[in-house]
Symmetry: C2
Subunit: 497 residues, 2 copies
């Protein structure tokens, strides 16, 4: 019997093939970051550019436009219709960028990221700048092309790749509100915490013990090691594919908390990927919803759970086991350490109260860069001015821990940063909904039982994939669209309560 | 100015793209063996099948036949002409196999290899058999298709993929000669060695120390760690790409020599790849000549160098450093250990005297399987009969160290095994030529100076890539085609001299 949905079937088959080629691209990318020796770089960059070009070709094939129109008239069920919506969205974005531009972007970002790995520790801004200029030039061209195709403003069109449906006007409105209360909150928390005694753990903390601890905590957090790994890279990330999730971290002998909490963050990403729906796996509808939703999972783990007193109680005996007994590892002290608020240079190490300041800074700079109101060479001055204003920190001459600290710009990921703070807000919104639905939640967490959180996230978020738009998803699981009030309430309750 | 060689240029461009996709395939394959968690298998098998299909499509495109004919009439230099010869050879082989068959082969071999990784340690022949039957069925079909296209007999057509130009009649003739003198030689060596005292090293040998030792020895052997790595896999192999060579080994705490000498073997492969010509890199003419020539490099390292008294003298202090002082690590005793002849179950652990017996066994079984004169279920009985006849060993019931010991059959690499013994013969021929050209060679090796060997191999073999056919290469560097007399002379001089 012939299929009643031949056009949909053809699209679906194409996306199954795309999923497989994407698998190779993801593993090759992870390998580049985690394993590749330095002389392998040029060949890897060429290989990644080649497959990026092939994937682009498959997503923009001339036949797709007609297939999409014809499939829309076929008798699709609700899941298939949602899949078609996602395929159309990807197609609109992909066709905006010509093949040569996509390949060029892959090449300049590979070159920039590769050189950055050496330049960052060397504080070599002068060496980094020409590579970043090349990345910025290609990113501006992509932004303009995406803008032409979508009707969004250029920066909004970049953001739309990561968080579809959210505009910079919305982000601006949320961030404007944040600016009104965040500095005051940071000050009040600092005052309150200045009266608390906190013991610092004393090292060194051997790397082997740190690695074993990280894997132990990932296990507690439900990570499936039969379907993923933890390795080391210069910039921690969550990579691989839903069937084989590759998390990375980095270790310092003098501090275990950074790598541990970084690992907890990536584990949130990893569990989302490992628990995406298996029905229609390989199709866009079975992929993670968006990057803000992804970050809402990593921050649900790192901040919502990691800053909970119940988590500190769970962690305490594991630290004693890993590093020996220290007064700093007592649950109460550990909880104070994990909720310590202190303005700092590094975004990924920031506490959840000062974190939004880092994102506001990058959002402001990126918009200026894409609008052509600033050039790459202007970044250090803009950076320093914002750090002074938002966090009272002098960053002059420190590029390593300043504008070179993140992999995002070397990789051309302009428009991504807002997702972190949107994610923090969604995470607070999810926990508020969880507490309404499960009034015993905090008691369960205090008893060391994290299962209710994982059960809720799995059912409400992970298993939904991209079935709903971000706004629909938020309404379904929490009864409302993004509401930043939950984030503020969370911070005030945790840090001033 | 338009190119004078537009058709050649188009072919060359296609092969540059093939080189890049092949890069991704090789890294994904290495990752599967070295890193991949078990639940990642199905997705990886699908992804590898997809890119295998794509590569097959690119090598068999309908436009290629005409381009090849037109390029042959273009004004090519000698290197380009050699490249065109190699492209035509690959095209003839590739077009023999339909796309669906190539993808099916990738799937059944992935499934068989994956299951074998658990089944081998469990001695689970019954579980392994149906997978192997599927591999054999698809291999027979490939052999028939290749035979139809090349005019070679089916098994010869399989061999031709690994060692072009060598027929099973030639191999049979060499092996028939071997059978006449090898058992007698093994007996005489055993008698001689039974009168020598050899001390065994006593373990355990911690894995971390073994790994450091292996890397140290790879460094002595000239491996470039900026362009490659050493990792662990169930079955050691040399993978990756010329620009980024991935070697693997496996460690046992009770024995360091297996993994060390396995690593020396793979390092020979690795140096060949790392030193292939960079001119025309990515083109077939810049690839390794053939698998027998590849094995001639690994065996030049493992056997010709590894069994030399100068190598034992170099190694001795490194062993003391790695594991502490033992009488067994004295140079003389170490040399006796490294040249110990003892019939055993495992091919990869065999000494160079008994090794050919393992290859003859597999050659006989493979030819019977491909000819349809035997089925997969018959292998254990055939195996045991041959092991009894050739090495006097009873293998009944031991599948782990019997027919399940190698990855070749799970991977469908029928026709490969003869390359090992051809390689051992070529390696002996190279060293005989080296000694004629460098009379001081052994004195230099005894003084711990391996550079003359590497210099000769680099210039004569590695840098030649596939510029010459195997026979032309042998004539150029040693003055004659394959001459097994050098192998016999080498064994008699080393073991009875």
């Amino acid at each position: 019997m012939p299929s009643a949905t031949p056009h949909y079937d053809a699209l679906s088959h194409r996306y199954t093939r795309i999923h497989r080629f994407n698998h190779l691209q993801q593993i090759a990318y992870w390998d580049l970051a985690a394993n590749m020796p330095p002389k392998g770089h040029a060949a890897r960059a060429d290989a990644l550019a080649e497959i990026t070009g092939l994937l682009h070709q498959m997503r923009t094939d001339a036949a797709l436009g007609e297939q999409l129109a014809a499939a829309a008239a076929e008798p699709l069920d609700a899941l298939q219709a949602a899949n078609l919506r996602e395929i159309r969205r990807q197609w609109l974005t992909a066709t905006a960028l010509p093949q040569a531009l996509v390949e060029q972007r892959s090449r300049v970002t590979s070159a920039c990221e590769h050189a950055w790995r050496q330049q960052r520790p060397a504080n070599d801004w002068a060496g980094f700048l020409p590579n970043l200029e090349a990345v910025l030039a290609v990113t501006r061209e992509c932004a303009q092309r995406l803008s032409d195709a979508t009707g969004l403003a250029p920066y909004d069109a970049l953001m739309d790749q990561y968080e579809p449906g959210t505009t910079s006007a919305q982000v601006e409105s949320v961030f404007t509100d944040l600016r009104t209360w965040l500095p005051g909150l940071i000050q009040r928390v600092a005052d309150k915490q200045s009266r608390e005694a906190v013991l610092s753990p004393h090292g060194p903390f051997p790397v082997a013990a740190q690695r074993a601890l990280c894997e132990r905590v990932m296990g507690l957090l439900g990570f499936d090691f039969d379907a993923g790994r933890l390795d080391v890279s210069a910039h921690p990330f969550s990579g691989g594919v839903p069937e084989d999730v590759r998390l990375t971290t980095r270790f310092r002998e003098d501090d275990f908390l950074q790598s541990l909490m970084g690992t907890v963050h990536e584990t949130g990403h990893g569990r989302y990927e490992q628990n995406l729906p298996r029905a229609l796996l390989g199709q866009p509808v079975a992929e993670a919803r968006s990057m803000a939703i992804h970050e809402s999972q990593s921050l649900a783990f790192e901040m919502q759970l990691g800053g909970h007193a119940g988590f500190a109680a769970l962690l305490s005996p594991l630290l004693v086991e890993a590093f020996g007994d220290q007064a700093a590892f007592m649950p109460g002290n550990l909880h104070r350490l994990l909720t310590r608020v202190k303005p700092g240079l590094i975004r990924v190490d920031a506490d959840e109260v000062t974190y939004p300041a880092h994102v506001i800074l990058r959002f402001d700079i990126e918009r200026a860069l894409i609008a052509g109101e600033a050039e790459a060479a202007d970044i250090p001055a803009l950076w320093d001015a914002s750090m002074q204003e938002l966090l009272g920190i002098d960053t002059r001459g420190n590029f390593t821990d300043g504008p070179m600290q993140d992999v995002h710009w070397p990789e051309g990921m302009f428009g991504y940063f807002p997702c972190y703070t949107l994610g923090a807000m969604y995470a607070a919104q999810w926990f508020a909904a969880m507490r309404r639905q499960l009034p015993e939640l905090d008691a369960r967490l205090m008893a060391g039982d994290l299962a209710p959180v994982f059960g809720w996230l799995k059912e409400q978020i992970w298993q939904q994939g991209s079935r709903w738009t971000t706004e629909e998803l938020a309404r379904r699981v929490s009864g409302e669209p993004l509401n930043p009030a939950h984030f503020r309430a969370h911070l005030e309750a945790r840090y001033l309560g």
